[in-house]
Symmetry: C2
Subunit: 343 residues, 2 copies
Amino acid sequence: MSDAVQIALDAMSGDRGPDVVVDAALHVLGRHSDLELVLVGESRLLETLVDARRVDPSRRARLAIEHAAEVVTMTDPPTAALRKKNASMRVAIDLVKSGRCHAAVSAGNTGALMAIGRFVLKTIPGIERPAICAALPSRAGRTYVLDLGGNVNCTSEHLYQFAAMGAVLAEALRGDGEPARVGLLNIGEEEIKGNDVVKQAHELLRRAPLNYVGYVEGYDIFGDKADVVVTDGFVGNVALKTIEGVANFLRDNLRAAFSRNLFTRLAGLIAYPVLRDFRRKVDPRRYNGAALLGLQSIVVKSHGASDRVAFANAIDIARSAVRFDLPRVIETRIGLYNGNSAA
Amino acid sequence: MSDAVQIALDAMSGDRGPDVVVDAALHVLGRHSDLELVLVGESRLLETLVDARRVDPSRRARLAIEHAAEVVTMTDPPTAALRKKNASMRVAIDLVKSGRCHAAVSAGNTGALMAIGRFVLKTIPGIERPAICAALPSRAGRTYVLDLGGNVNCTSEHLYQFAAMGAVLAEALRGDGEPARVGLLNIGEEEIKGNDVVKQAHELLRRAPLNYVGYVEGYDIFGDKADVVVTDGFVGNVALKTIEGVANFLRDNLRAAFSRNLFTRLAGLIAYPVLRDFRRKVDPRRYNGAALLGLQSIVVKSHGASDRVAFANAIDIARSAVRFDLPRVIETRIGLYNGNSAA
């Protein structure tokens, strides 16, 4: 491979179609001169979309198109998705497997992406289950939360591996060389604290070569206590969707308060620049892009409804993970931890 | 008992001390002429606090003081709390046991309150474990979520009982005679949907004489799909604290955006009435008061940091639950459900 980072983009599987992916690709190519992208999907359609955008030649030269005739739908179960050998999602991951690309990004069906990723790329030795990890805004900047839905019934060993992988991702994306602080999600009532799996994971983590800060609670995701918050896929998925729910609910109520009557509309107009700054700060698109950790290569899941800004952010995450050599660093660390825990 | 509703208030155990409880008591006595309250705690202190407020005689006549020499602290484990026989929390619950009061309200340590409640009042026949249930704001008005921390390792039978109890509470507090819609919290990835306990609970609920709407996800807590959302105490507690975290984070960021400079401060001044209306709508104090469901009498937990408005809301919930005869209705329904599931 050259010095450039090559990333395959599944252009067809998101809710908003290939337009968004083409726009995001062109945008990110302008941002990083070391980047080369491969749009995967219906090639004629993609060529038409790219041509219509009158891209400057320096960017166009770093944008390839790879044909894929099929599409994995949002309702395809993993088994059906695995049979679609010509789907854009599959071809994008095959490009990573063959060494043509370093990473793949898709806004498609999460279960299918995980299944194809595991089947084609395999997991890192020592990792029993890959996990999904995404960033959320916090007082500390961002908090990386995992697992977000891949693994419902987890053992303490799984949580321990998630912790190690999450720490590597946080360190890769922050890039400040500081070890990430890892917290284990628990509840606070003293007597009934935690279930057995959480308690056992706590013991494993206390002995691990990690910057482990102990138990954290739900509100600590937004605080400054940990950079990585570890939990099982059921709790993580509920927490993530609950956050989405409350944020949308508050946004809609704020909007409604400002559109009640002429006075409130006027107030909204005056407050508009402030509200825009606020929205920008907590804009979920800036946090879009969940890494599928534990695979032998890098796969990033973009939100199904990603727009250009959100999808571009997911590409940025993939690029940073490639530059950090994420899977190799995870492999080394997991070996280290397993050696340590066996000692 | 007379036609009045008598409620015992643990005046000593909240983070903000007895002032808040005295203020809340006087406020609620003004709101409901059928209410009689008993302040439980250090009697001289409470008398001084009440006297200092120059209460009008009609309210003062409905306010009694019961002495209690000890206080359960926020860090007392349940076992230690159970040994404090003269604690305000214990005396308040003893007043319910003896029939002097219909319900107790406390802003103290949740684990201790649950332990004392179970020990003194016992559970309703057929209920294996009491659950904690509170309301959250939603597009539908409010959603009742349980369990919020009492029970970490739940069986499908427990979730099923929580569903029945939550439905009764929602119906008691809404008071419109409509059967509450009950949803079971799950995650959405098709192939990996739910753990075994959730799947089994789903089967039980489908056959139950309940308005069961099926699986719901994290964002549905704020939606219009269910009035009651059922989950285990670990997930419920994480969800609740995550909601608290994200709401505080957004509030702080909104505040910061409006205090950046002279212009933003001016905009904030103009937008103030709108922001105040918005805050009022989503004010967590209006949703304060979690019912300990499954006990033979009514116990309501107020947030530890409750102010007057919040504590008053918890008293209102206790009063509505008494009027609805909540424990008896739960007992009847549980008998009905158990008969049904045995059939």
